[in-house]
């Protein structure tokens, strides 16, 4: 028998459920969650639920976790993947993500089975914020962007704020987050490419109606450049504030490496901001789009 190679001792200091935190003042942790389910919700999207250390459940709407995804193909997945949290259940000690199995990271994530360990770091970044004066908000999202907007329904419900959610998708089969919005009392409107109702002109008519009804104290969007442009235009026209969640290729997650920058326009000047730390939620009017 050969002696074990001492160089095989890789470090693993992430917090597991019930661990005493040696650095309790931390804002961000590295956690090993246990997968309780990882199910397909349709042909393209999966929903993963993780039991986690209680500190991880401090995440709020719009914040992200940096996910150390398993490999889908035998080669290494080197960097973590940032993903906004879909739902937090403090009582159950769970965080949830809704994702499209698409790139190598999410395809690896799709292989997770109940009982598997999954290393996540977070919560990261600045999420959605509700002003006390807002009584009704409008959420407009498309595709996987709706997963990012979904926890707003929870936040709004907790604050007694009414929500109208306009959910845009290619066809009925891939409308995301509708149940979550419905369950929390949001008024949902589905618009589809398949019947033409997702056209910008139609969405604009819907928004103008809501504005006329006084249901638009603030706008929220994620996942579509043309919907962002539409909300920016209407927001400017009617003086409605807004927030947008952005994404970018990311490395460190703490603001140190400057990989995840995007262009924003602040007071007429173009600047770069870090999605990981200055965002991922930004003032809608400052976003330049993509």
């Amino acid at each position: 028998m050969t002696t074990p190679d001492p160089n095989e001792n890789y470090t693993d200091a992430a917090l597991r459920i019930g661990d005493v935190d040696p650095y309790p003042q931390r804002l961000v942790g590295e956690f090993i969650g246990i997968v309780t389910r990882n199910d397909w919700v349709n042909d393209e999207y999966k929903h993963v639920v993780l039991k986690v250390h209680e500190h991880a459940t401090k995440a709020y709407a719009g914040q992200m976790f940096h996910l150390l995804c398993p490999s889908p193909d035998g080669a290494e997945v080197w960097m973590r993947r940032p993903m906004s949290v879909y739902r937090v259940d403090k009582t159950a000690g769970e965080v949830e993500f809704l994702y499209k199995s698409e790139g190598r990271g999410t395809r690896g994530m799709a292989t997770l089975q109940p009982g598997d360990e999954f290393n996540i770091a977070g919560p990261l970044g600045v999420g959605f914020k509700l002003q006390p004066s807002w009584k009704n908000i409008v959420v407009l999202g498309r595709g996987v962007g709706l997963a990012t907007l979904a926890p707003l329904s929870q936040l709004a419900a907790e604050n007694g704020v009414g929500v109208t959610a306009i959910l845009s998708a290619r066809h009925e089969g891939v409308v995301m987050s509708k149940e979550l919005f419905d369950d929390l009392g949001a008024h949902t409107i589905t618009v589809l490419d398949s019947d033409g109702s997702s056209d910008v002109e139609n969405v604009e008519r819907i928004l103008e109606t809501l504005i006329a009804q006084g249901k638009t104290d603030a706008f929220f969007t994620c996942g579509s450049n043309r919907l962002l442009k539409l909300m920016q235009r209407l927001g400017k026209k009617h003086g409605i504030p807004g927030q947008v969640a952005m994404e970018q290729i990311m490395v460190c997650g703490f603001g140190a490496c400057y990989v995840c920058v995007r262009t924003f326009e602040v007071d007429g000047k173009r600047v770069l901001k870090r999605v990981c730390r200055d965002g991922p939620v930004f003032n809608m009017q400052e976003a330049v789009g993509w």
């Binding site: 693993d12 931390r26 804002l27 080669a75 080197w78 920058v261 770069l272």
Partner: protein, 315 residues
């Protein structure tokens, strides 16, 4: 309990583990206790405010990530006024990395950075995406000597010099830096790399070239540290692919006094702390009283380098 302290010139580090410049900021205090690190190493600062390179700034390859950031920053005045105080709240020594395209400006910057809260100046003469006469002076022995001589004349702070793994003969360049007055050598910066997308035939990074950041660097940089350690008398900080305590041990055996960590802190934000803890445990298990016992302790003196004998030896 092992004594983990190491000395780099006049600077004492409580342990030999520090972050690599560019892979770290005080903002990591959100996730780890910065007071536990051997040193704090700021991102390279330039004189002028810089936006940095176009995105994408990172791409994954089969052998690690390549990245090209372009030294973004708000310029030296903002740095001294606002960033240095962010680091000064913590106890480990502050290493300030600096870069410039001209030797004169490099020296002037080093002088301006020689403020009380700065403990060490790290001359980043090896940014891989700058050219040999425009900041990447570590590509040539003479440029290195001229640049470090000029900086040495303008600052009394401990001066560490970050070398390039892209130069042909790193040993000669290390000697030139030592001759010119460097107090320590940081080996090494990232490896100049390229990725081309096969879907659109375009380079994957907005700046075309990037530096490879990966555990794959460890055996190559370890070899460089080993070679340089045999040729110079000043301490070496080894940087490249450290992901666990045994990697720190390996670098120290090769002749390094300390290590810098980039990649591992990206992948596991708590990695630096666990590597420090694991290093102490590793030493304790072996009865090592002082971590400095490891420096240059590689057992290679009896190696015959005889191919025929080696090939016929029993396994």
């Amino acid at each position: 309990m092992v004594d983990l302290t190491v000395k780099i010139g006049d600077i004492t580090l409580q342990n030999p583990v520090q972050p690599a410049s560019g892979a770290f900021s005080w903002e990591y205090n959100d996730v780890i206790d910065l007071n536990r690190l051997g040193a704090l190493v700021a991102k390279t600062i330039c004189r002028e405010p810089r936006l940095g390179n176009p995105t994408p700034r990172m791409a994954e390859t089969e052998a690690g990530i390549i990245q090209s950031i372009g030294l973004p920053g708000k310029g030296i005045e903002y740095f001294v006024e606002h960033i240095v105080p962010e680091y000064a709240r913590f106890t480990p020594p502050l290493v300030v990395s600096v870069s410039s395209e001209s030797i004169e400006d490099f020296a002037a910057l080093a002088e301006e950075l020689s403020v009380p809260d700065v403990d060490v100046i790290e001359a980043n003469i090896s940014c891989p995406t700058r050219n040999a006469t425009g900041g990447n002076f570590a590509m040539h022995e003479d440029y290195t000597r001229d640049c470090i001589t000029a900086i040495r004349a303008k600052t009394r702070k401990p001066l560490w010099v970050k070398l390039s793994p892209n130069a042909g003969d790193i040993v000669s360049i290390a000697r030139a830096a030592e001759d010119a007055g460097a107090d320590a050598l940081v080996i090494a910066n990232t490896f100049l790399s390229l990725k081309i997308r096969t879907d659109n035939f375009r380079p994957a990074l907005g700046n075309k070239f990037g530096g490879l950041v990966s555990p794959a660097l460890k055996p190559i940089v370890l070899r460089m540290v080993y070679q340089v350690a045999k040729a110079v008398k000043i301490p070496i900080i080894g940087i490249g692919g450290v992901t666990k305590a045994e990697d720190v041990v390996e670098y120290m055996l090769a002749g390094a006094t300390a290590v810098g960590i980039g990649y591992a802190g990206f992948r596991n934000p708590t990695a630096l702390i666990s590597i420090i803890d694991d290093l102490a445990a590793w030493c304790d298990e072996r009865g090592i009283k002082k971590v400095t016992e490891l420096i240059g302790a590689v057992r290679d003196q009896d190696m015959e380098m005889d191919t025929l004998n080696a090939a016929s030896a029993g396994v």
